[in-house]
């Protein structure tokens, strides 16, 4: 059977991966795999993933990996980087881990300009636990804990995580938001984020708009529309913070 094209840094022996059909994680991690391949850093990377759907990537790569607790991947990777600065430390998590239970770790790491790369896959809800409301849930969006739609009055508006990080991170940090709907751009952002860590400029952060057809109960067209139209209205793609005068890496 022909093996579909996979990044070199992916493990082949345990594919297919365990994400649902149409899940955005596979796409984000494929972009990440490509970025790692292009930077030729496979032997230096330690990859950390959270609990939540991101944990299903614990054996996805041919990378040294640690799967941690909900929201705690950021401090684990920061701890590794401080102990062994030559390692390239990547923390991968969902929006619940990044923006809710682990948000103070994210804030602490960004504020200290930890030289790690944090990637948050934003699919507007807690997916593995069965589709509950998250800080990123869109106004009016129905989830298991906002069954009548998210009420902005009582539960707030979609959390602007990348903008917050850009606002608090010191000079040298790199912050961008990409999407699974624009894979070339997402790969470019991830590569620049990693480059920023390799060059020792500071913290790097990429939010990736992702898709969860299982909990959204959407078909392919509906999924695409939700990412491209509904999510795009609230979450702007693009680079939000770039180190001054030392533009992180070649825009390959």
């Amino acid at each position: 059977m022909p093996v579909p094209a996979m990044p070199k840094s992916w493990r082949v022996d345990n594919k297919p991966h365990k994400f649902c059909p149409g899940c955005g994680h596979g796409l984000v991690l494929k972009c990440l795999g490509k970025a790692i391949d292009e930077l030729e850093i496979q032997s230096r990377v330690v990859y950390g993933c959270d609990i939540g759907c991101s944990l299903l990537s614990w054996d996805l790569f041919n990378l040294d990996t640690v799967q941690t607790h909900h929201g705690r991947t950021t401090p684990v990777m920061a701890g590794m980087k401080r102990a062994r600065p030559e390692l390239i430390c990547i923390a991968y998590m969902g929006d619940g881990g990044g923006y809710s239970i682990g948000v103070q770790h994210l804030v602490g790491a960004a504020m200290r300009n930890e030289k790690i790369t944090v990637i948050v896959a934003n699919n507007t809800q807690y997916a593995m636990t069965g589709g509950q409301m998250a800080p990123t849930t869109l106004p009016g969006q129905k989830t298991e804990t906002s069954p009548y739609g998210r009420d902005a009055e009582t539960t707030g508006l979609p959390f602007q995580g990348a903008e917050m990080i850009a606002a608090i991170a010191p000079e040298g940090a790199y912050v961008a938001r990409g999407s699974v709907s624009h894979l070339a751009q997402l790969t470019r952002f991830l590569k620049k984020a990693l480059r920023n860590q390799i060059d020792g400029h500071g913290f790097s952060f990429v939010e990736a708009l992702s898709a969860c057809p299982t909990n959204w109960r959407t078909d392919a067209a509906g999924t695409w529309e939700f990412v491209e139209k509904d999510m795009a209205e609230h979450f702007k793609r693009g680079e939000i913070k770039i180190p001054e005068k030392r533009e992180a890496a070649a825009d390959a």
């Binding site: 365990k18 649902c20 759907c53 997916a127 593995m128 909990n215």
Partner: protein, 193 residues
Amino acid sequence: MPETTTKMVLAGEGGQGVQAIAEILAEAANEEGRQALYIPNFGVEQRGGVSVAFLQISDHAIGSPKFLKGDIVAALSERAVQRTATYAGPETVFIYDSAMEGVEDDLPEGAARVIPVPAMEVAKEEFHPRVYNMVIMGALVGATAVVSLDQAKAAIEKRLGYKFEKNPQLRDLNFRALERGIEMGRWPKGGIN
């Protein structure tokens, strides 16, 4: 109607509908005035992991949700066969889908009977792949008679009625698949093949 507790283990890939089968059977038994205890057991994946349902139906109060050996164990995927072999004892009827390849080595050795059921083939050829779980459910009802056909239908109606309203043909499709499954479940005694 059996006097004792019937213990069933159903396992398949997430999305194959094993939890729905167990839930419908449990509800049907409950409607018949019998005791039923169903507990889902799944991995961390929303989809794609092995999903296992433990179901007990009885005429008296049921004890622990956990049991060591099932009377009927049904495995709908290769991984499910590996996962559930441990629940097959000398009294167990082990059912698996004959469409699976390469599972021979993983089939339980000491089971009372190990029966390949061509449910996928039947669903595909005679009905529609989406009613696969109805064929399986029928096979279980046929093999155990834990609930009556009428009660099984009533429970399906309760669960899927809203879909049937929109498309009455679906009701017919599901019920025929169920009946066909029951027929298959009354498999002549005699072990493999």
